[in-house]
Amino acid sequence: MTIFNLYIFDKFGTLLHYAEWNRTKKSGITREEEAKLTYGMLFSIKSFVSKISPHDPKEGFLYYKTNRYALHYLETPSGLKFVLNTDTTAINVKELLQQLYAKVWVEFVVRDPLWTPGTVVTSELFQSKLDEFVRQSPIFGIRNI
């Protein structure tokens, strides 16, 4: 199991934070364009899911898998979007994202008085806590050492 990269968007589609670990392929476009493309794709998937769902969805879209990776999605009622790419065998990723929200995002970003909501997170404390959190998770595994 391993973790590739993480995007955090706010409800307006602003990329608040990006981090990567074992990513081996770049998309060939700038970070900014890649974020826009990702957000646009997720937006379409959400609308696709709500239309095609046979019952009233509650959480809606959870993840998709290709043959190489899985994209996991957590959206909070406040519209924050956590997007984590892992390999296809990773399990309990939803719980991991929930923890990341509660223990890293809320603790070190929301409580940071110097952070203005809606802006890119630059706090080094947050970045190091996030890195620590991801590396310690069982999903991160021991690949690429």
Binding site: S27, I52, Y64, T66, L71
Partner: protein, 219 residues
């Protein structure tokens, strides 16, 4: 096992076949007194619930009938405007029927054409080299399995969540397609599939799967 639908998308992204299977009708009827405690959203095409869900009438459901009279968009069958009718206290108590919106054929074609670029973007955004497009998409209410043949045709099955072996079923649908569609000399490639034999065989297959599970499909 519940299979909700089968879709086939051609190489160029057009929806060439779809079958709805077991799609539940979600409708709720209730008599309301004034003032109406549902928050409704009136747009140009429909009246839908935007807040204050109640007794199964959920946010997103569309108004389909008032006192048994069908609603077409924002007007009643007899020409009265829905909003004026619901705003007038003398019309209460009033019976309203709501339904989860059903997809029209046009919407299905639109969704199929929407899935096509999503599939491609998912491959482009891959953090690992040589990724395929989306193979499984999971939501809390359904799972979508997609199988792309080497020739670029996509077979899509929408089912309940937590099922195993849908990939086998997709292969089987592919076989049926190559037997009863491609071998039919009157079928032209990329065109919508209108083959009765294929329809029947597919429905038989789905009925069998729902009864006895996927592992029992004859190989």
């Amino acid at each position: 096992m519940i299979i909700y639908g089968v879709y086939i998308v051609s190489k160029s992204g057009g929806l060439i076949f779809n079958l709805d299977n077991n799609v539940p009708r979600i409708e709720h009827e209730k008599t309301f007194t004034y003032p109406l405690d549902l928050v409704l959203d009136y747009d140009s095409k429909k009246v839908s619930v935007s807040f204050n869900r109640k007794d199964g009438i959920n946010v997103g459901h569309v108004l389909v009938a008032v006192n048994g009279m069908p609603v077409n968009g924002v007007t009643l069958d007899d020409g009265r405007d829905v909003r004026t009718t619901l705003d007038a206290p003398e019309n209460y108590p009033i019976n309203l029927k709501f339904s989860r919106p059903k997809m029209t054929t046009n919407e299905k074609i639109f969704l199929a054409s929407m899935f096509y670029p999503l599939f491609a973007i998912a491959s482009q955004l891959s953090p690992e080299p040589k990724s395929s497009g989306i193979e499984i998409l999971e939501a809390d209410t359904f799972t979508l399995h997609c199988f792309q043949t080497l020739t670029g045709i996509k077979f899509i099955i929408i089912s309940e969540t937590g099922l195993n072996g849908i990939d086998l079923l997709l292969r089987k649908v592919y076989e049926l397609y190559s037997d009863y569609v491609l071998k039919n000399p009157f079928y032209s490639l990329e065109m919508p599939i209108r083959c009765e034999l294929f329809d029947n065989k597919l429905q038989e297959l789905l009925a069998q799967v729902e009864k006895t599970g996927i592992s029992n499909i004859d190989k």
